[in-house]
Amino acid sequence: MFNTALTLSDLGFMARGAAITLSITAIAVLFGTILGVIFGTLRTQISALAAAPLTFVLDVLRSVPLLIQLILANAFQSILGFGWQPFAVSCVVLSLYTSSYCAEIVRGGIEAVPMVTRRAARSLGLSWWQDLAHVVFPMALRVALPGWIGLTLGVMKDSALVLWLGIIELLRSSQILVTRLQEPLFILIVTGAIYFLISFPIARLGGRLEKRWREND
């Protein structure tokens, strides 16, 4: 018979960890998307030379491991004497990290809108801003949404790394339980199942949206 020392209150502890994971993800995706839309739009609308500094910074954010970014940002904020909580540092780093990927997705979406469509919109008398808001963004959204859902799931999984700064999120909470109960395999399987339960339905939804929107094209 299978026996485990894992109690309901331990599961509650893990659920609190999962709540932290979800809240960091939500904050990072929210601010990351806002910044990403701005950065991605800027990169397509201004000249490559003017956008070069932005392009470089976003490239660095995508080419340096997230764990290193977290450690660096945490060290940097304490050098500057900000005295931020690890939670705030994590949210800032993850938001910027998300924005760097989101900018690429947004750029891809905007570039997928044919130039003739935009020229037609402009020659019908729409201003640059109206063209962007009423023609380009709605069309780009369809191209960008599946990628954005994938990004959201990626950020949810990458948010596990904030445990290095001492935040007790889902994976860290499972580690604490493993240390106490000495049942690594079972507890890790439960943890994996929770991650899976969070991300699988969203992944499926993304896949279905992608399929449905392709049919309408």
Partner: protein, 221 residues
């Protein structure tokens, strides 16, 4: 700046040591890619298998690899496998975790690439007298690698970035591990990790650039 003096000299003196770590990082990444590609081909083929058991196994691998954090997969290899009496060293655990992750992502890439190859290619190969294995390895596989070359490059960069997770399971020979060991000794966190970040960036750029050169050489008509 609250009375903080940067000590860059200490960090610069450690550069050879960190570059040694970078070599280990590249080793792990490359090994995990080679193994990952091997498993990914098997999984991609297995997902189209007639037998439900093989199909189920392949699908489970892909879904677990894609829907759980890479750090979780490394934990699983390091702590979870202990339940079966398998006590992996940090190096092996890191390699196993990243390989598992790579294989899951690459399998999906390969599946898409396999679908993009016209079925007439396989039929033509078979009607020229090739056996199913020969037709697959000589005709289908090269085309599959060609179609999925860019995603494979991205995955390689991902593998390099993922190796940094080794410090969490006590890896101390790769770039992140060496940096962390130096950090624990000197408490110059910012200086050391800033250098590490630069090395990671250069490594990632070198791989991307090298892959582009390689693609231009391999895939010309």
């Amino acid at each position: 700046m609250n009375n903080y003096t940067f000590h860059w000299y200490q960090a610069f003196r450690a550069v050879p040591q960190m570059l040694g770590g970078a070599v280990v990082t590249l080793e792990v990444a490359l090994l995990s890619m080679i193994l990952g590609i091997g498993f990914a081909v098997l999984i991609a083929v297995g997902r189209g298998s007639q037998r439900a058991a093989i199909r189920g196994l392949a699908t489970t691998w892909v879904e677990v690899a894609r829907n759980t954090p890479a750090l979780f997969q490394i934990y699983m290899a390091h702590f979870g496998l202990g339940a079966f009496g398998l006590h992996l060293s940090p190096f092996t655990a890191l390699l196993a975790g990243i390989t598992f992750n790579n294989a899951g992502y690459l399998a999906e890439t390969f599946r898409g690439a396999l679908r993009a190859i016209p079925p007439t290619q396989a039929r033509a190969a078979r009607s020229l007298g090739m056996g199913p294995v020969r037709a697959f390895t000589l005709i289908i596989l090269p085309q599959m690698f060609r179609i999925s070359f860019l995603p494979m490059t991205n995955q390689m960069v991902w593998a390099i970035l993922m190796t940094s997770l080794g410090i969490v399971v006590g890896m101390n020979t790769d770039l992140a591990g060496v940096t962390q060991a130096l950090n624990v000794k000197t408490f110059r966190t910012f200086e050391f990790f800033a250098l590490a970040a630069i090395i990671y960036y250069l490594a990632a750029k070198t791989v991307t650039f090298g892959a582009r050169l390689l693609a231009a050489r391999l895939f010309r008509y």
